[in-house]
């Protein structure tokens, strides 16, 4: 194998890179494959401290021994981890969005994300992640005045090493599962948010992720810390251009809410789902977990999942602080040959902790969609409450919808309620809408949007509009 040599050469080249680099649109990337040298390359390229490199290598060692999770209701050919790139980045750092590659901006326009307008009009600070490295961050100064840190995780490693050291891996340990473990070894970028004590973040923080490089796995890592009494709402949105080959996406998101802090995390996920024959599409294996560390803290996850060939994702809450609250609102839509196994975990540790789960699953085409959720009440969670509602809607007779809740209680003073239904769109509803002039497809989209309303209304306004359109788009071709 000649690869190690190549890598070594690249690491050497990297030192030269430090001395003033002229913009070159071609992205540089590490060679295909995964080994210790690649990890050293990533770490060197990012000028990381020694402890982080060690953490990465430790994760990699562990990853090699770990089995892939088998319990999800998904199937795919074995993943060839050696057949993917683990590092690719635009070479120059930009001072402002105006300096960004016009082609990149064009892609954003095509996807209907007019960043600057959106940012100005809606007051959204956009941390644009293009492939793996942050291209530009806006609104940083406004936020700085409040003591809020919103930057890429690479910058945070450089500028706020103490926070990173204290919190990274504290909610999702590197050995949590095979996908999280891989992320810990090779993560390239992502976002970092820190809201200081008593500060309410005045705008929705938002990051648009895009995959735009063939065979580049995305290994984003996001860390959000809300200090005592702080509040933040974070939006993550994904759309990806058409791709023919499967792309692996293994992100990790960690949230920490201290006493009385509130974190709202909203996602619209629309990675390329593969074509109508089930060819291509993203494998989206994500580990998202929030820790309600302090008393009366609250973490709320809202997700609209319409994309990806395979979604494996369970945004969770560990309710450690007394009286803390966790929420999970989810819409998952699958069409054609998509597979989704998604849900949540609510771990009740503290007294009087409360959780609420509203999951809406829609299956169309030949797809399979599963809600899988765990509610666990530990012995100390006196007076804990959980309410879970899972509703599935089937569109067409070749799809499957499944509900697999796990409910474990070790405390008699805890109260758990779970309800689930599976149904189809009624003929009456369809006919009523059609009599009012809607085509069958429009009627289905309208009814499905209504079915999802409880979840959609938890999305921030500008996201909700986009998400409604997505629902209609993702159900195209499912009727008739």
């Amino acid at each position: 194998m000649s690869e190690p040599l190549t890598v070594a050469e690249q690491v050497q080249a990297l030192n030269k890179y430090e001395a003033g680099f002229v913009t070159d649109i071609e992205s540089d990337k590490a060679p295909k494959g995964l080994n210790e040298d690649i990890i050293r390359f990533i770490s060197a390229k990012k000028n990381e401290p020694e402890w982080l490199l060690e953490w990465r290598l430790k994760s990699f060692e562990h990853w090699k021994k770990m089995p892939e999770p088998q319990w999800a209701k998904i199937s795919h050919p074995p993943i060839d981890y050696q057949d993917a790139y683990y590092y690719s980045a635009p070479k120059a750092k930009l001072n402002s969005l105006d300096e960004a590659d016009p082609k990149l901006l064009e892609t954003f326009e095509k996807l209907g994300v007019p960043m600057r307008e959106r940012a100005r009009l809606a007051g959204v600070a956009v941390d644009v992640v293009f492939d793996s490295v942050s291209v530009a961050t806006t609104f940083k100064e406004d936020l700085n005045k409040l003591g809020i840190i919103f930057c890429s995780i690479s910058e945070a490693i450089r500028d706020h090493p103490d926070l990173i050291k204290k919190y990274m891996g504290s909610v999702v340990p590197f050995h949590d599962n095979k996908h999280a473990c891989l992320n810990s070894a090779v993560f390239t970028d992502g976002s970092f948010v820190f809201i200081p004590e008593g500060v309410r973040c005045p705008m929705e923080l938002s990051t648009y992720f895009r995959i735009n490089e063939i065979n580049t796995g995305q290994f984003e890592r996001t860390l959000i810390i809300a200090e005592k009494g702080a509040y933040v709402s974070y939006l993550e949105g994904c759309t990806a251009p058409m791709r023919d080959e499967n792309q692996l996406h293994a992100a990790v998101v960690e949230l920490i809410a201290h006493e009385d802090a509130v974190i709202k995390y909203s996602t619209v996920q629309n990675w390329y789902p593969g074509d109508e024959n089930g060819k291509g599409g993203i494998y989206n294996f994500v580990t998202k977990r929030g820790l309600c560390a302090g008393a009366r803290s609250k973490i709320s996850w809202t997700q609209v999942e319409t994309g990806s060939a395979i979604t494996w994702k369970y945004p969770s809450c560990v309710l450690k602080g007394d009286d803390s609250q966790g929420e999970f609102y989810s819409v998952a839509i699958t069409n054609n040959f998509q597979q989704a196994d998604t849900g949540t975990k609510m771990i009740h540790m503290g007294a009087r902790t409360r959780s609420r789960i509203i999951a809406k699953t829609i299956s169309a085409g030949k797809s399979d969609s599963t809600y899988r959720g765990l509610v666990k009440i530990l012995a100390g969670a006196d007076g804990a409450r959980n309410y879970t509602q899972c509703d599935s809607l089937l569109v067409g007779d070749e799809c499957g919808a499944h509900t697999v809740p796990y409910i474990e209680s070790k405390n008699p003073r805890a109260k758990l309620e779970h309800e689930a239904t599976t149904s189809k769109i009624s003929d009456d509803q369809l006919f009523y809408c059609q009599q009012r002039g809607l085509s069958e497809e429009e009627a289905v989209a309208l009814i499905v949007n209504g079915f999802c309303r409880e979840v959609m209304q938890n999305l921030p306004m500008e996201f909700a509009v986009e998400a409604q359109k997505l629902i209609a788009i993702s159900l195209e071709g499912s009727v008739g």
């Binding site: 089937l394 758990l416 149904s423």
Partner: protein, 329 residues
């Protein structure tokens, strides 16, 4: 010990046995294979001699047998009983069965029950388990229902040390109806697992699962119930409810109600609640002058009563009622 596991024990698939470690429970026992002896009442005329270590009943076409047949198996110290019940009910016939399980000592009963209901056949199946708190019981019931067949089962488990009750119901013919309900009464260090899978294979079938658990001391209860609707099983109606009363801080209840659905024109739902007695009715009763103990007793009786109400036969209900009251005391 491993090699003692007979072939009839269901596949120890990890996900399926997630909450119940049968191997660990068996390791604590010292048992040897013994001859099971079934005591039978009213079964004689339907008995088939073809099963060596079990019972085979065959009910002829259109036979309406109103008197319940009672089958009873008693376990004894050191015994490993591996046995089987086969019940074939021919077209249009109807039957009531009471299966009673008792015993004394540390033993292991591994029981397989195969029920085959032909078109329009009807079976009411009542099981009462009052096992020794040190025994292990693994019971696996399979029911195959043809067109318009009806299967009603009520299972009361005043449980064993470690008990796993599994039901696999196949609704093979259109219009078949399975109505399963049960009550698990657990205390001490008992482990009671009820695992159910109802397969809606044919269209227009209906199924209901209604199970309750009461846990005291450091007991552990498990309820796993699944409704599986096959691709062509349109107009399926599946229902499942699991209510669990946790009465002790050391007890644990794990519930996994599952829907696996591949047909679009279906009506399926499940619900589950876990917790202690509701405060509101408790307060109401006490404000009407009942002391806490009496109020509790009344509410618990009401809780179990909903399951016992599923029994249509008054005599059988009286028997079950009496045994449940004994447990509650």
């Amino acid at each position: 010990m491993q090699n003692l596991l007979p072939k009839s024990l269901p596949d120890l698939d990890k996900e399926h046995w997630k909450y119940s470690n049968v191997n660990a429970a068996l390791k604590k026992l010292d048992v040897a294979l013994s001859q099971p002896v079934w005591e039978m009442t009213g079964a004689f005329e339907f008995l088939h001699p073809d099963i060596e270590n079990g019972v085979h009943l065959s009910i002829p076409k259109n036979k309406q047998f109103m008197r319940p047949i009672e089958l009873k198996l008693t376990g004894g110290e050191g015994q490993h009983l591996d046995t089987k019940i086969v019940i074939d009910v021919a077209e249009g016939a109807s039957l009531k069965i009471i299966e009673r399980q008792t015993g004394c000592g540390a033993y292991w009963k591994n029981i397989k029950v195969d029920i085959n209901l032909a078109a329009n056949a009807q079976l009411e199946y009542y099981r009462l388990c009052e096992e020794d708190p040190f025994c292990v019981v693994t019971e696996f019931l399979t029911a195959n229902l043809a067109r318009d067949a009806r299967f009603n089962a009520v299972v009361v488990n005043g449980c064993s040390g470690f008990g796993r009750n599994e039901f696999k119901v196949h609704l093979n013919g259109a219009g078949a109806y399975a109505d399963l309900s049960g009550l698990a009464l657990l205390r001490g260090k008992q482990h009671g697992d009820t695992t159910i899978c109802v397969d809606h294979i044919a269209p227009h079938c209906k199924s209901s699962q209604f199970f309750k658990t009461i846990l005291q001391e450091s007991a552990r209860g498990v309820f796993q119930g699944k409704i599986h609707v096959y691709k062509d099983a349109q107009k399926s109606d599946g229902y499942q409810l699991s209510n669990n009363l946790l009465l002790s801080p050391l007890a644990e209840m794990d519930v996994k109600p599952e829907l696996e659905i591949y047909a679009d024109d279906v009506k399926c739902s499940h619900g589950t609640t876990t917790g202690e007695l509701d405060e509101t009715p408790m307060f109401y009763l006490r404000s009407r002058g009942l002391n806490e103990q009496d109020a509790r007793k009344l509410l618990i009786e009401a809780f179990v009563g909903e399951v016992l109400d599923k029994m249509t036969d008054e005599t059988i209900r009286a028997l079950f009622d009496e045994r449940v009251q004994l447990w509650l005391k």
